[in-house]
Symmetry: C2
Subunit: 404 residues, 2 copies
């Protein structure tokens, strides 16, 4: 059966229609959950309070094995009728906003404004709406569905929640597919994860007076050379690969050779192999730049050294266009009248993609904008919201094997 | 007559001996003046309160034409018996310490501890002691002696007080010689001024996302190239010439091509011609680096530019070893049993030296240490203090033409 046919049969199924009706009836509750969760701050590395609240909500929804793991993810399992093979439906708990950010929700008509409301708090509430709907409609699936609220998706969180889930978590060997529901747009299906490696490189030297110690090695020159080497590294268009020296600093006084300077570097690729090559070449370039500076000037008071500290590591990966999860998600989105696009991005799906687990990012429905800004907003107008939710729920049920 | 003979005759003169006796009798008053002036804060660009106090002291000492000029220097003239040709005896009002620094003086035996006490507050009080002594002893000189308390000697003050005095001041055309009394040591006579040019260079570009805007020009790479060009510029040992990239910064986020980065650069030379050549080559290197970056990557969203802002300009210069002021100062120091050394440094004397006005830095007497630190100290033990003061006063009177 084609993906389109599978989706069509699900959409036509009385139990699915009942589930969609439940979501519509309960839309106000979903919105209330969005507001409640949004107003619990969840800054990077500060998701505990929201995680505890979400854990209670998962338990209240009657899931089994409701738990919080060692890194702070919360989750619960809805049993299928199969062998325990598991489809994960995730949303991330964290926002990019620091502690102290005003996270109160302001409402203007069907628009809700608050930091983090679309990315990704709405999805946490929408996943609960999915759960209530399929429970109320008596839907059974072949696979278990594990609902996951994960920590550390954003920025320096560096995907640590989902990384932990797939490297240490007790469910990791049973996962057959992974959905991350992230941000409202349902037409943009993320099927590839851009890998990134980020480093902070600190170059140190003996320092000294700019005049009386002239001739000693200068760590700024080692850094300059490392930057120029980076700037000239190959960066193929396909698979798309990029590099950037982005933030830098150091030195103490205009009349002193600096003791230390530093730079941050961002390396990215759609291809894990290209990313590994780029990383290797970058690190070799740093080493060569240090050696060149130590050869160019006096090391009598000490040599220049470089310390490369990883500050980000998101593995590249992708789910093949012909994988069932991609085909079904695409068909489900198209069936609601959207024009699905396949994209590469950096999301929780990077981790399973990098491990060969079929994974996509889908949307929570409705619209939104200004993510990562204090003006972040979503629209919860019921028609558009439910259309998107219907698409995503159909995709999930198709992959989990909804019983006919 | 040799310089040694001139100094010997001055030292043996009954009026000079009386002047030295006055300094000895009034030593406690000199110390009290040091303490009083030290405890008036004089941070960079904040010398006004101390200047006002010193202006009052100059006036109380009976000088003529006591005044404060437009930039904040205070001064007064002691008439000579000649044609008004003038010898300047300066000390700088400013310290390196910021507003709010605790400048109270702590005394341990003959040691006084306080920020700025030796560099250069002691000299302000010692110059007043010189004035009282020669007045009390009835000494007359051929030249007028202009006592100057000047602003802006330290750091970013950039010698603005003495620069103004010699470029705008109404006395500038009558100056035949210039002494700056700066810090206690009398054996280290500064006869050369190391010139310096300091720049803050800001490189700007369009910026953009590190991944999606990859390929656009990056101002950090232009800066890196400018740094490496600087690092390779010739820096002769003689005349000693140096260059340094010292402080740098810029960028906003690890995942963004920076909009702007900046560096501070220090260029120095004993030779004005070498310094000018170095500056020209450095600025040309910045321009070439910008051009290279704009050629290496896309300028579609805008090109990289560089803005070179001067943040320091101390002219190089020197007073010839056979100039009378050097010979006389050296003989006066040697006559007190010190081993005089000639040094290059960066002091108020840079300005007259650069203009061809004979100038040296001499000492205020006694000992001291830890200048520019919060632990700065001086020793006011009378014997050593008066020995140094006697040397410096003899040098001044020799240059000003003490009447036999």
């Amino acid at each position: 059966m084609t993906a389109e046919a599978t989706i069509a049969r699900i959409l036509a199924h009385p139990r699915f229609r009942e589930a969609a009706a439940v979501m519509a009836r309960e839309h106000d509750r979903t919105v209330a959950d969005i507001v409640a969760l949004t107003e619990i701050p969840a800054p990077p590395y500060g998701e505990a309070e929201r995680a505890a609240a979400y854990l209670d909500m998962l338990r209240a929804h009657g899931l089994e094995e409701v738990e919080q793991d060692a890194i702070g993810n919360v989750m619960g399992r809805r049993r299928g009728i199969g062998n325990g093979s598991t489809v994960v439906v995730a949303a991330h708990l964290d926002t990019v906003f620091p502690a102290g950010t005003d996270v109160r929700v302001r409402r203007e008509g069907t628009r809700l404004f608050a930091p983090g409301i679309g990315d990704d708090t709405r999805s946490l509430a929408v996943n609960l709406a999915f759960l209530r709907a399929i429970d109320a409609a008596g839907i059974r699936t072949r696979a278990d569905i594990l609902f996951l609220g994960d920590v550390g998706e954003e920025g320096l969180g560096d995907l640590r929640g989902v990384r932990h889930f797939f490297t240490e978590g007790r469910h990791r060997d049973r996962v057959e597919a992974f959905f991350t529901v992230d941000s409202p747009d349902v037409d943009r299906i993320v099927t590839g994860g851009i890998g990134s490696k980020r480093y902070r490189v600190t170059f140190r030297g003996p320092g000294g007076h700019s005049f009386s110690a002239f001739g000693l090695v200068n760590p700024a020159y080692a850094m300059a050379r490392a930057m120029l080497t980076l700037s000239a590294l190959p960066a193929p268009d396909d698979p798309e690969t990029t590099h950037c020296a982005s933030v830098l600093g150091g030195g103490t006084s205009v009349n002193a050779i600096p003791n230390a300077v530093w730079m941050e570097v961002d390396l990215r690729s759609r291809s894990a192999a290209e990313l590994a090559r780029l990383e290797r070449d970058f690190l070799a370039g740093v080493e060569a730049a240090v050696a060149a500076e130590n050869a160019a000037r006096s090391t009598e008071q000490g040599a220049v050294t470089a310390e490369c500290t990883p500050i980000g590591d998101r593995p590249a990966g992708n789910t093949a266009p012909d994988a069932a999860i991609v085909q079904l998600a695409t068909a489900a989105v198209a069936a609601q009248g959207y024009a699905p696009q396949h994209e590469y991005s950096s999301t929780d799906a990077n981790i399973p993609m990098s491990l060969g687990v079929p994974a996509v990012k889908i949307g929570s429905g409705g619209s939104g904008g200004r993510a990562h800004s204090l003006e972040e907003w979503i629209d919860v107008e019921p028609g558009e919201s439910l259309r998107g939710m219907t698409a995503s729920l159909a995709a999930i049920l198709a992959v989990a094997g909804m019983e006919e």
